[in-house]
């Protein structure tokens, strides 16, 4: 640890930034006060970033302070704990702080006033008692979310991937937003605990350095922290006052000169960043075993007589806090949760304080006047001069306004940190951030659509693969039959050898795909060669697989010509039926039927024998039956069905080619950025894919139109789709039963084969069901 007292760390200045009036003296003149216990605590299940927690209490339950009342759902999620002892009185939607203004599920707790803790499990000897991973699990169970920003679960940041070696642990105590002083007073009053929390973080992460970044407008906090950090090797770095130096990315750059890659996380550059409040919560969670049930929140603004910092139970409604801070409700013009630069306005005072609520700003009309009318952008560039991400906000505004998302992204829309510096300086009073938030939402939606299309592509490819497999299988079977008719008994199949060959082939194929991908990323130019190689290997692997499967279907038993037997059986039974018919006719005509009857009996015997032979030929026929049934579907000559098939194929083809086009564009862009020299080739590729996707789209549109017209005219297509859906589903069920049977028998090979087949059938059924649903939607009918 190289805390160099006296030699300050060299700071890197980030581009832009602004100096809005601080207004911090409103709230940092008094010590932290305890907020009064409200009548009800409202605990949203999604106070953190990630999946909402799941309630594990019922209405009417009594709980103790610190008891878990909702449990984390999945990896990126956190539990919720009771902030005080009392009774659960409701579980249901309540207004919360969310830009959408929508209600969200909450647990409502009525305090009993006793504030009784449940049993806690402190770990004062954390240094020696358990491994870091156990401490991290502890922190997760304590529900600790990042308390300065978006509320990302702290435990996740503390378990970086093994390839991310952490060099710097940075504690963000900058607090650059005007008005907010929660971290400031926290450091003044509880510096030891904060330093203790940093020690725990160091123990877990083992960084080379631990640095606390504090803005130079908090001399008392700096002093307190310096004192507490003496001898620990933790460095207190003072950064100049400039908004938004407390932005995570900006602070990391200032202290280390390293930039978090666009779209990446700090761990990638060896940095983990935590907020002061979080650090304190971590200390308390480990040393006292307390889960996160309270926080320091600044109550400020000129509408408050008693502004200051309060220790607030999570879930306390804002109304109760305003009362405690002596709010003049008539004077409040704007109520903001968070600071004036990045906070969100509240639409109700019933909204509770959550883990991330660092400030409640009750401002008068004069303090935060209503926004002035927006004037046209004059491209003055003031916004670009202050943008800490070094974007061109004026261009982003232009493209966001015109909904040109592609260009907006080209201008790095997604790197905007929504700090609001641009809107702060804009002489035309354009609410720029609002435009960016909207555009970002649109981009995210588009991304989701894209992912959907990707999934469709995967399905399509799987289906293609299966069809190819089937084809190969048929081929193999035909060959086997030929051989079988030549020699009465088929030669035994060497399963092991076949399987090994198949595995080898598929491994080779996979390796080739990997190579191809790598080449694509590098933009190397032998793509074509690699692609064809991959194609070849794939064919080889498929053939090998088919052979294995074929052999699996007819395990080492002598191959019986099932098809021939079946045909014979059918012929025999037809003959029998014809004879019966003839007999009936004769009977009706009053002729002598005894001869005919004996003939019919003979024929019946023959047919039965044939049937028995078929049955005896074993399970092969059973497996063949469903697949031939499903194979029959695409062979229907019915041209609407054919069209449906084609449509599906085209749709997927379009999705695929569009995706390829997108990918190619991205590759081109990358190449352009890196200045590689195969640009022309890439460009051509992009063109090609675009053409392809356009063509597919066109054809698809044509077909869709036709189909629509037809459906409107007849409505018959629905029936065939329904049948197809039912058939495929039945086939899948049948296969599942077989699989179960095979599992009981414990035949591994067969289980494998069946599992694969089942998967394929399931997909098929899914596709068919989808098509049916689409058709139903198309006609605007309810599923009957």
């Amino acid at each position: 640890m190289n805390a160099s007292i006296g030699k300050p760390r060299p700071l890197f200045d980030f581009h832009g930034g602004i100096h809005p009036p601080q207004n911090k003296e409103l709230s940092n003149q008094r010590p932290i006060r305890q907020a009064p216990l409200p009548e009800q605590l409202i605990l949203p299940l999604n106070m953190h970033l990630g999946a909402p927690a799941k309630a594990i209490v019922q209405v009417g339950d009594t709980v103790l302070k610190g008891e878990k009342i909702a449990e984390a759902q999945g990896a990126v999620s956190l539990p919720v704990h009771a902030p005080t002892s009392g009774k659960i009185v409701a579980i249901g939607p309540r207004p919360i702080q969310h830009p959408s203004g929508l209600d969200a599920p909450c647990i409502v707790l009525e305090p009993d006033g006793k504030d009784l803790w449940c049993e806690l499990h402190p770990l004062p000897d954390w240094q020696t008692c358990c491994p870091p991973s156990a401490l991290v699990a502890r922190l997760r169970e304590a529900g600790i979310a990042g308390m300065g920003g978006a509320g990302f679960p702290a435990a996740i940041k503390l378990s970086p991937k093994p390839e991310h070696k952490i060099d710097q642990l940075i504690i963000n105590a900058v607090e650059c937003e005007p008005y907010i002083t929660a971290d400031d007073v926290l450091m003044r009053e509880r510096a030891e605990q904060i330093i203790g929390g940093i020690e725990i973080l160091r123990h877990i992460l083992k960084p080379k350095e631990a640095i606390v970044g504090i803005e130079d407008n908090k001399p008392e906090a700096i002093e307190a922290m310096r004192r507490a950090a003496t001898g620990t090797g933790i460095e207190i770095a003072v950064v100049p006052t400039k908004y938004p130096s407390g932005g995570e990315k900006q602070l990391i750059y200032m202290l280390t000169g390293k930039e978090v890659p666009s779209g990446g996380i700090p761990a990638q550059i060896g940095v983990v960043c935590h907020n002061t409040g979080t650090t304190l919560a971590i200390y308390r969670a480990i040393v006292y075993g307390e889960p996160l049930v309270s926080r320091i929140t600044t109550l400020t603004g000129k509408a408050l007589a008693e502004a200051g910092n309060f220790e607030v139970l999570i879930g306390t409604p804002v109304a109760s806090l305003l009362k405690a801070a002596g709010a003049d409700m008539d004077k409040i013009g704007r109520l903001v949760m968070g600071g004036p630069m990045m906070g969100f306005t509240l639409h109700s005072t019933a909204i509770p304080v959550v883990k991330t609520s660092n400030c409640i700003l009750a401002a008068t009309e004069q303090e935060l006047p209503a926004p002035a009318t927006e004037q046209p952008c004059i491209r003055c560039g003031s916004c670009a001069d202050v943008c800490p991400a070094d974007l061109l906000p004026q261009q982003l505004y232009w493209y966001a306004k015109n909904q040109d998302l592609e260009r907006a992204q080209q201008y790095n829309l997604m790197d905007c940190i929504e700090c609001g510096a641009c809107a702060y300086v804009c002489p035309s009073h354009i609410p720029l951030v609002q435009y960016y938030r909207f555009a970002k939402g649109e981009v995210r939606n588009a991304l989701q659509e894209q992912q959907k299309a990707d999934r469709a592509r995967v399905r399509f490819e799987a289906r293609q693969q299966r069809l190819a497999d089937e084809q190969a299988e048929k081929e193999a079977r035909r060959k086997a039959r030929l051989q079988g008719s030549k020699a009465s008994a088929a030669p035994g199949v060497d399963m092991a050898a076949l399987k090994a060959a198949s595995l080898q082939a598929s491994a080779a194929y996979k390796a080739a795909v990997k190579a191809l991908k790598a080449a694509e990323v590098d933009g190397r130019d032998q793509l074509a060669a690699l692609t064809s190689e991959v194609e070849q290997l794939k064919a080889k692997a498929d053939a090998a697989k088919a052979a294995v499967r074929d052999a699996g279907n007819a395990p080492a038993a002598p191959v019986v010509d099932v098809a021939a037997l079946k045909a014979a059986s059918l012929a025999a039974s037809a003959e029998y039926k014809a004879a019966v018919k003839a007999m009936k006719a004769a009977e009706a005509a009053g002729e002598d039927v005894s001869a005919l009857r004996s003939a019919a009996d003979a024929l019946k015997a023959k047919a039965d024998a044939a049937k028995a032979a078929v049955r005896d030929a074993g399970p092969a026929i059973q497996t063949a039956a469903p697949s031939s049934a499903s194979a029959a579907v695409p062979e229907k000559s019915d041209d609407t069905a054919q069209r449906a098939q084609k449509m599906k194929a085209l749709k997927t083809a379009y999705n695929v080619s569009h995706k390829q086009f997108k990918e190619a564009s991205a590759a081109l862009e990358r190449a352009e950025r890196d200045g590689s020299d195969n640009l022309d080739e890439l460009r051509k590729q992009v063109e090609r894919f675009k053409l392809k996707s356009d063509k597919a789209k066109e054809a698809l549109n044509l077909l869709v139109d036709q189909a629509k017209a037809d459906i409107r005219a007849s409505g018959s297509d629905l029936k065939s789709l329904k049948i197809e859906a039912a058939q495929t589903e039945a086939a899948a069920r049948q296969k599942a039963r077989e699989l179960d049977a095979a599992k009981i028998n414990g035949d591994d090979q067969r289980i494998n084969v069946l599992t694969r087949e089942l998967e394929a059938l399931k997909r098929e059924a899914e596709v068919a069901a989808g098509a049916l649903k689409a058709a139903i939607d198309e006609q605007g009918l309810a599923d009957s």
Binding site: M341, F344, P371, A372, A384, N412, D415, V425
Partner: protein
């Protein structure tokens, strides 16, 4: 208590209104206008007196026709600024109708027909200027010889278009240069070419506008990129030619302090709407204007070239922006251009 729901930020900087920006630019023209009046008489002031109301009327009329809030839109002062710039650019001998035509071309055609403030691809004042220069070359090139300022009454008669202007007009330094370039003897004997440190009289005009420009820089109304780019571009291309052949080509100093060089660099090329917008973009944009001005002055058919150079570069501005994105945080390299 009424709770309003708006997006952050909830506070904005004080004093920054688009109108205030524009007014600052207008104030910064005061030294230049004063020197023009000192050298050439009342003409420039008369130009202003006619141009400003004409611009306001034209703007209001179009805004009304477009169904906009006239009062609100006029409060951005952009029409007044355009009028001031055009009034300064045209000769102080101009008759009233010339001014009015120029204003209509600038406000109605170049600005409002393109969608109003912020939407115009071309600098409105320069569009007005070029329309006039092409349509009325005679009126547009009648400058008075410096220090021969007519009385306010004569100027007034000129504005009413009832005075014989030709009697008092004289060549500007750039006119002389164009006429006598290559002729060492004549060049030496033209007093207009030998002022205190550049063309006579005009060196003071340019100095005054430089002063105004420095004020704008100090107040952070404009950024340094465009003026510095333009002046540097002009000087750097003038230097080698002048060194090689000082009979044909004027010195960098002469170029910098002649014609509309300073006025153009600080007041015209810096019109943000029609200029490039990124930092590097502005530097390149300014430099190319400087080079173009020199090229047209030295080889073109018109004595001065700021208007043409600016309009040409207006056309190139989007392309320049395209290729001069800054390197954003977290990106290894700046994005260049857009792949579509």
């Amino acid at each position: 208590m009424s709770l309003i729901t708006v997006t952050s930020p909830h506070t904005t900087g004080q004093r920054n209104h688009t109108g205030a920006f524009m007014r600052q630019v207008i104030y910064a023209t005061i030294p230049g206008v004063a020197v023009l009046t000192w050298l050439f008489g009342w003409g420039t002031l008369f130009n202003l007196i006619i141009a400003v109301p004409a611009a306001l009327i034209a703007e209001a009329a179009v805004l009304k026709a477009r169904g906009r809030d006239v009062r609100f839109a006029l409060s951005d002062w952009s029409a007044v600024l355009t009028a001031v710039l055009l009034a300064i650019a045209i000769p102080p001998t101009s008759p009233w109708w010339l001014i009015v035509i120029g204003i209509v071309a600038a406000i109605v055609v170049a600005k409002q027909l393109y969608g109003g403030l912020g939407m115009n691809p071309f600098n409105p004042a320069m569009v007005g200027y070029v329309v006039l220069l092409i349509s009325f070359p005679l009126e547009m090139t009648r400058w008075i010889a410096p220090h021969e300022a007519p009385s306010w009454f004569d100027s007034f008669r000129m504005v009413l278009a009832s005075a014989n202007v030709d009697a008092i007009t004289g060549a500007t330094p750039l006119d002389s240069l164009r006429t006598w370039a290559g002729n060492a003897e004549q060049l030496a004997s033209q007093p207009i070419l030998h002022g205190s440190f550049a063309g006579a009289g005009w060196e003071w005009v340019n100095l005054a506008f430089l002063l105004g420009g420095i004020y704008l820089l100090a107040r952070k109304i404009i950024s340094w990129h465009i003026p510095v780019g333009m002046l540097a571009g002009m000087a750097l291309i003038a230097l080698p030619f002048w060194l090689a052949d000082d009979v044909r080509y004027a010195s960098p100093l002469f170029h910098l302090f002649s014609g509309a060089a300073m006025f153009g660099a600080f007041f015209i090329a810096t019109d943000p709407v029609s200029a490039a917008t990124s930092r590097y973009g502005r530097l390149i944009y300014g430099a190319l204007i400087g080079v173009l001005v020199w090229v047209i002055r030295s080889n073109g058919g018109y004595p001065d070239a700021v208007a043409f150079a600016v309009l040409l570069m207006n056309m190139a501005a989007p392309t320049i922006d395209y290729y001069t994105q800054p390197r954003s945080y977290g990106h290894r390299k700046a994005k260049r251009g857009a792949s579509r």
